[in-house]
C-alpha cells in the first residue's frame, strides 16, 4: 500500500501527439481515485504510465516515495486488471491466481493457502480447477481480481474492468469492487468512461479532456461546482443543459426570458458595465413544474412557459424535453463541446437547443402541450464562452455547497413573456439529447 504522486506527467507519442499533458495528481494511501473522460482523453495511457507499460515522456511518477519512471512493471509491485481480463488461457484458475506468487518464488504451501483465501473472498471455490475458457464473463472478471489481490500489491489499477459485462453484471461487480477496496484498503486507480462508475466508486474523481486534467474532486464537488463547461457537461446524467445568455449587470438574458440574478451570485461575477455573452448551465433537476412549487419557493426562481416535445415517464422521475431558441453565435463552441462529450447536446443545423428538465413524476405536463416551468435561479452556472471557465464558482477552492448554500433569495422577477415570441411549437419534433 502506498501513495501515488504524479508530477507534471506528460506522454508524447512518436508522431508528436500529446496523449497526456502535464498532469499533476496526488493519490493518498488507501484512496480510491477514478480517472474519467471520453474515449481518447488519455486516461488509459495515464494508467499505463503508472503501471509501467508506457514510457513517461517527461515528469515523474512516485509510488510509495520512490521514483519509478525507469522501473519495469515487474519492479513496481502493482496489480492491474485489464479490460479484457488478460487471463492466461492455458492455466487453470488456480494457476492464474497463483501466477504472481509463482513469479515471486513463494513456497508452494503458502501459494496454496493464499490462493484459497483469495478464492474464498471472491467465491471462486468450485472454479479453481477450470480453465478460463470455461468461465462466464463475470467469473473471468473475478479471477482477474483474484490475481490482483492475491499478492497484496502497493496499489490496484483497473482499466475499464466492467466494460465487457452486461448491464446487470456490471452493477453487481461494481459493488463487489467497492467492497474489496474497502476491505483491503489498498490504493486504487480506476479508469472508466462511465460516469455512473465514476460517481459511485470513487473517493475522488479526476476528469480528463484531451490529456489535460480538468478537475479533481469528490463526486459531489464535481457535480455541484464544476470548474468548466466540460466537467459540467460530462458529469451528470442526463447532462447539464447549456444555453447562450447575455449578462448585463445582475440581469441575465436567457432564451427563455430575462431574470435577475441573486445578489451574491451577481457579486461573484463582478461584471463590468455593458452586456456580456455567457453560457448558462442548468441541470435538468433544477427545472420543475411551476404548479408543484410551493408559493414561497417560487420567488427563488423564474417561471416561464415552454412547449414540451417529448415526455419520458420513468416512475420515479419524469423527463420533459423542450426546444429553446438560442442565438447562432455560441453554437460553434457548444457543438465542439458536444463532440468532445460524445453526445448530441446541440443541434447545429438549426438555432435551437434541446433542453431536458427532470420534473416531479406527479407533474401533469403533457406532450406537445404548453407548460409553466420553474427554473431555480440559485443553482444556475454561468460559463465564459471563450475559456469555458465557470464564472459562478466562489473564488479560490471549489468547496461543496458553497455556491448555493447561503443564498438569500431576493425577488427575482419571473421571466418576461417576450422570450417565447420566436419559439413556435414544434409539431412532432421528437429530437432528444442522447
Amino acid at each position: 500500500m502506498a501513495e501515488i504522486i504524479l508530477t507534471n506527467v506528460t506522454k508524447r507519442f512518436g508522431d508528436g501527439t500529446i496523449a497526456v499533458d502535464n498532469v499533476n495528481l496526488d493519490i493518498a494511501d488507501g484512496e480510491f481515485v477514478i480517472l474519467v473522460g471520453p474515449s481518447g482523453c488519455g486516461k488509459s495511457t495515464l494508467l499505463r504510465m503508472i503501471v509501467g507499460l508506457e514510457d513517461i515522456s517527461s515528469g515523474e511518477v512516485n509510488i510509495g516515495g520512490q521514483m519509478v519512471n525507469n522501473s519495469a512493471p515487474r519492479d513496481r509491485n502493482l496489480a492491474m486488471v485489464f479490460q479484457n481480463y488478460a487471463l492466461y488461457p492455458h492455466l487453470s484458475v488456480r494457476e492464474n491466481i497463483a501466477f504472481p506468487l509463482r513469479m515471486a518464488k513463494v513456497p508452494d504451501s503458502e501459494v496454496k493457502q493464499r490462493v484459497d483465501e483469495a478464492a474464498r473472498v471472491l467465491e471462486l471455490g468450485e472454479l479453481l480447477e477450470r480453465k478460463p475458457g470455461a468461465l462466464s464473463g463475470g467469473q473471468r472478471q473475478r479471477v482477474a481480481m483474484g490475481r490482483a489481490i492475491v499478492r497484496e500489491p502497493q496499489a490496484f489499477l483497473f482499466d475499464e474492468p466492467l466494460s465487457n459485462l452486461d448491464a446487470k453484471l456490471r452493477g453487481q461487480m461494481r459493488t463487489e469492487i467497492a467492497r474489496l477496496q474497502k476491505r483491503f484498503g489498498t490504493t486504487t486507480v480506476y479508469v472508466t468512461h462511465d460516469q455512473t462508475e465514476a460517481m459511485t466508486l470513487g473517493d475522488r474523481v479526476a476528469v480528463l479532456r484531451r490529456g489535460v486534467l480538468q478537475q479533481v474532486g469528490t463526486p459531489r464537488e464535481l457535480y455541484n461546482s464544476p470548474v468548466n463547461l466540460f466537467v459540467a457537461g460530462f458529469i451528470g446524467s442526463p447532462s447539464m443543459n447549456f444555453l447562450p445568455a447575455t449578462l448585463t449587470g445582475h440581469r441575465l438574458g436567457l432564451p427563455t426570458g430575462e431574470v435577475d440574478l441573486p445578489e451574491e451570485l451577481a457579486a461573484r461575477l463582478s461584471t463590468g458595465t455593458g452586456a456580456r455573452t455567457v453560457i448558462a448551465g442548468i441541470r435538468p433537476e433544477h427545472f420543475e413544474d411551476a404548479n408543484l412549487i410551493p408559493e414561497d419557493e417560487l420567488g427563488f426562481g423564474a417561471t416561464f412557459p415552454a412547449t414540451i416535445d417529448v415526455i419520458e415517464w420513468m416512475g420515479s422521475e419524469l423527463y420533459a424535453y423542450f426546444p429553446v431558441r438560442s442565438g447562432q453565435g455560441q453554437q460553434a463552441g457548444l457543438a465542439e463541446l458536444a463532440r468532445d462529450l460524445e453526445q448530441e447536446g446541440v443541434r447545429s443545423e438549426t438555432d435551437e437547443s434541446q433542453v431536458v428538465a427532470r420534473l416531479d413524476p406527479a407533474s401533469q405536463v403533457r406532450e406537445n402541450g404548453e407548460a409553466q416551468l420553474w427554473l431555480d435561479i440559485r443553482r444556475i452556472h454561468l460559463f465564459d464562452p471563450e475559456t469555458g471557465e465557470n464564472l459562478t464558482l466562489p473564488t479560490g477552492t471549489a468547496t461543496t455547497g458553497g455556491a448555493t448554500g447561503a443564498l438569500e433569495g431576493d425577488g427575482s422577477d419571473p421571466l418576461t413573456k417576450e422570450g417565447d415570441a420566436g419559439n413556435p411549437p414544434h409539431a412532432g419534433g421528437a429530437h432528444r439529447a442522447t
Binding site: 515487474r74 488478460a86 488461457p89 492455458h90 513469479m103
Partner: protein, 302 residues
C-alpha cells in the same frame, strides 16, 4: 442410417401427417449425396495408397517373386528387412537421417520461435524486408544452389559432414517456420504479456511461461514441417555427401546393390522405403490434431 430415418418417419407421421409427408423424399436425396462422397473418397484413398501398398508388398517378396505382378505376396518373408539391417548399407544412413533431421528441426524451430516472436511483437526497421526475404528463400529452388554449395562446402571442409547438411536444411526450413509461428504469435493478445510483466515476470519468463505454451500448436506445426522437409530431402543429400559418413536414407537408397550385379535390389529398396516412412506416419498420427489446428489456425482466425 436407414433405420434411424424410418423411425423418425414413423414418429412424425404419427404426430402429424403433413410433417411426415415431406421426410421420405428428403432422406434418399441425402443418402445419394452421401453415397457419392463415399465412392469419391474411396477412389482417392485407393489412388493415393496403391503405390504404397505395392512397395509394402514388394518389401515382403523374394527377389524371384518381385516381378510376379501379384499384390499379395505368395510367400511373404522378412528376408529383405533382414538384409538391409545386416549388410550395413542401411543402418548408418538411417542413423545419419535421424541425427541430421532432429538437430536441424530443433535448431530451426528454436531460432524461428525467437525470430517470429520479434517479428510479431516489435516494430523494427526492415521488418518487411526480413519477411519478404524469408518468403523469397522459401520459394527458392534448392537445385539452383546445390552446385555453388558443393564447391563452397568442399573448400570449407563441410562436404560430406553432418553440419554440411544441417546448415542448408535449417536455412530452407527457417522461413517457413517463421511464417507459421509469427501468424501464431500475432494471435496472442499483447495484454497477456503485459499482464505477466505486471505480475512480476521478466520478459523472458513471460515468453516462456505464457507465450510459448499458447503458441505450442504453432511450434509443433513448424517442427513437423521442418522434420518432413529434412527427412525427405534428396537433392542436398545426394549432392553434398559422398560416403556413409553423412549420407541420409533417401540418398543411400540409390546406392543399394543386389546380390549380384545382374540382380535389382528392388526388395531391399522397398523395405528401406517402408522403414523410413514409419517415423513420418507415427508423427502424423501422434500430432494429427495439432497439425490440423496449426495449419488452419493462422489462416482462419488471423
Amino acid at each position: 442410417m436407414s433405420s434411424q430415418t424410418s423411425t423418425v418417419t414413423t414418429h412424425s407421421s404419427r404426430a402429424g401427417g403433413r410433417a411426415g409427408a415431406g421426410r421420405p423424399q428428403v432422406a434418399p436425396d441425402r443418402r445419394r449425396i452421401e453415397f457419392k462422397w463415399i465412392v469419391l473418397t474411396i477412389f482417392i484413398i485407393v489412388y493415393a495408397l496403391i503405390p504404397l501398398a505395392w512397395i509394402l508388398s514388394l518389401s515382403f517378396k523374394s527377389p524371384a517373386a518381385v516381378t510376379d505382378g501379384k499384390l499379395i505376396p505368395t510367400d511373404p518373408s522378412l528376408e529383405n528387412y533382414r538384409t538391409i539391417f545386416t549388410t550395413g548399407v542401411f543402418v548408418r544412413p538411417l542413423i545419419n537421417s535421424i541425427g541430421i533431421t532432429i538437430i536441424s528441426t530443433v535448431i530451426a524451430v528454436a531460432l524461428a520461435t525467437l525470430a517470429a516472436y520479434a517479428i510479431a511483437r516489435l516494430n523494427f526497421p526492415g521488418k518487411r524486408l526480413v519477411l519478404t526475404a524469408a518468403l523469397a528463400i522459401a520459394m527458392f529452388p534448392p537445385i539452383s544452389i546445390v552446385g555453388p554449395l558443393f564447391n563452397m562446402w568442399r573448400s570449407l571442409g563441410l562436404y560430406d559432414t553432418w553440419p554440411g547438411l544441417i546448415i542448408p536444411y535449417m536455412t530452407f526450413a527457417l522461413p517457413m517456420s517463421i511464417w507459421v509461428l509469427s501468424a501464431f504469435f500475432r494471435e496472442i493478445p499483447w495484454e497477456l504479456e503485459q499482464a505477466a510483466g505486471v505480475d512480476g515476470a521478466t520478459p523472458f519468463q513471460a515468453f516462456r511461461k505464457v507465450i510459448v505454451p499458447l503458441a505450442a500448436p504453432g511450434v509443433f506445426t513448424a517442427a513437423i514441417l521442418v522434420f518432413f522437409f529434412a527427412w525427405n530431402d534428396f537433392v542436398f543429400a545426394i549432392t553434398l555427401t559422398s560416403t556413409d559418413r553423412s549420407r541420409t536414407v533417401p540418398a543411400a537408397l540409390n546406392f543399394f546393390t543386389g546380390a549380384s550385379q545382374f540382380q535389382q535390389p528392388t526388395g531391399a529398396i522397398s523395405a528401406a522405403a517402408i522403414i523410413v516412412t514409419i517415423p513420418i506416419i507415427l508423427l502424423v498420427l501422434a500430432f494429427q490434431r495439432r497439425i490440423v489446428a496449426g495449419l488452419t489456425a493462422g489462416a482462419v482466425k488471423g
